[in-house]
């Protein structure tokens, strides 16, 4: 295909001003130097002018309004109307969908979890105790801090109370003694030590105070 053949294809759009700017330049530059293409372009222009003179352009003042009125009076199928309604909601519809799904999930969760929540609140179901945790029948451990300054006095007092005729069971006596010790929590300048007492086995643990 020669260059003139290619340019001849572009002469009609060139005359109508429909080419790209660089294409317009190319065609114009070629037409200036090519007699055959220039005559063809003149024929296109003559034909265009003649056609425009023949055709009568209708009045377009109320064109858009007339079209809209015709559309309004046109019967629209139900499916199309529903589609329009859904499209009208657009994003709002998706939000309603999300809220609806969340609400349904919450309702189902509440229905499933309500019995367990009731048990938990009422405390009816026992919680299994691990084997390592202190046994339920283990004797109580009494923790006391003893002031070194007055420990001997408290000890004597507790011993005197235990020697009474109505001395209670060993664990109660030990607890009583420990309570005495607790009541004598260190004051003043005397250092204190931590004491644990396990009355059933008679084991007493004393933490030696820290040395500077």
């Amino acid at each position: 295909m020669t260059l003139c053949d290619e340019m001849r294809l572009l002469l009609g759009p060139f005359d109508d001003g429909e080419l790209e700017p660089h294409e317009m330049e190319e065609v114009a530059f070629h037409v200036v130097g090519c007699v055959g293409c220039k005559s063809a372009l003149d024929e296109y222009r003559t034909l265009g002018v003649a056609l425009r003179d023949v055709v009568t352009v209708p009045a377009l003042e109320h064109f858009a309004a007339d079209i809209a009125a015709r559309i309004d009076h046109t019967w629209i199928p139900l499916r199309a109307r529903l589609r329009r309604l859904r499209d009208a909601f657009g994003h709002l519809g998706s939000v309603f969908e999300i809220i609806g799904v969340a609400a349904a999930t919450a309702v189902v969760t509440l229905m499933v979890a309500a019995p367990y929540a009731r048990h938990f609140i009422a405390g009816s179901s026992p919680v299994p105790v691990a084997d390592h945790v202190a046994r339920a029948d283990a004797p109580p451990i009494v923790i006391a801090k003893v002031s070194l300054a007055n420990a001997s006095a408290v000890l004597e007092k507790a011993a005197a109370a235990d020697a009474g005729p109505d001395s209670a069971a060993p664990d109660e006596a030990a607890i009583h003694e420990s309570q005495e010790l607790v009541a004598q929590l260190g004051g003043g300048d005397s250092r204190s030590v931590a004491v644990w007492n396990e009355p059933h086995t008679g084991t007493t643990v004393v933490w030696v105070p820290d040395q500077p």
Partner: protein, 185 residues
């Protein structure tokens, strides 16, 4: 004649001591440490208990009262003291423990404990223990190194009541002690 007097006085003293209550005091020095439980290990560390502690009746009490994972017997000492007298025990770490049995009341033995570090007084505390009871002194020497000194006493006048220790010995499974007794880590 002088020899006779000396022999007589010695015999008298022996008779006097035989008549006076003599308290046998046992002291065990135990080194307890806590194994570092890394975050990757799912199982709790097993307890390593010195076998000699089982024979001294200390192992069960240690498992019950503490949550350490390693217990090693450093020293076992025994001595006798009359009521009102004191006996001294050398403890690991340079401590000296004076134990003075004071009085026996039923199944309770009154003791006076004094602990020294060299010539410096660390602690003085009168305590009492039951016939088959035990006193444990816990002292932290270094981070994650605790010296546990167990003190037990026997005396003919003490009314012994067997302790009810229902701890099942599970050396491979640590028994969790009371939260207050967990060592600081």
């Amino acid at each position: 004649m002088l020899l006779a007097v000396c022999l007589a006085s010695a015999g008298t003293r022996g008779l006097a001591q035989a008549g006076t209550s003599s308290v046998k005091i046992r002291v065990n020095s135990i080194l307890a440490t806590y194994a570092d439980s890394s975050a990757n290990s799912r199982r709790a560390p097993a307890i390593k208990m010195d076998a000699r502690l089982n024979s001294y009746g200390v192992a069960e009490r240690l498992r019950m009262m503490f949550n350490y994972t390693n217990y090693r017997l450093m020293r076992h000492q025994e001595d006798k003291a009359a009521l009102g007298d004191a006996v001294a025990f050398n403890l690991p770490g340079g401590h000296i423990l004076h134990v003075s049995p004071l009085e026996v009341r039923g199944n309770l033995l009154m003791l006076d404990l004094v602990m020294f570090e060299g010539a410096r007084l660390i602690m003085r505390m009168p305590m009492r223990i039951m016939g088959d009871g035990m006193l444990m002194l816990v002292d932290e020497h270094n981070p994650n190194q605790y010296y546990i000194t167990t003190i037990s006493a026997t005396c003919p006048q003490l009314q012994h009541e067997p302790p009810s220790i229902n701890v099942e010995a599970e050396p491979d499974v640590p028994i969790q002690a009371f939260p207050a007794l967990l060592p600081a880590q």
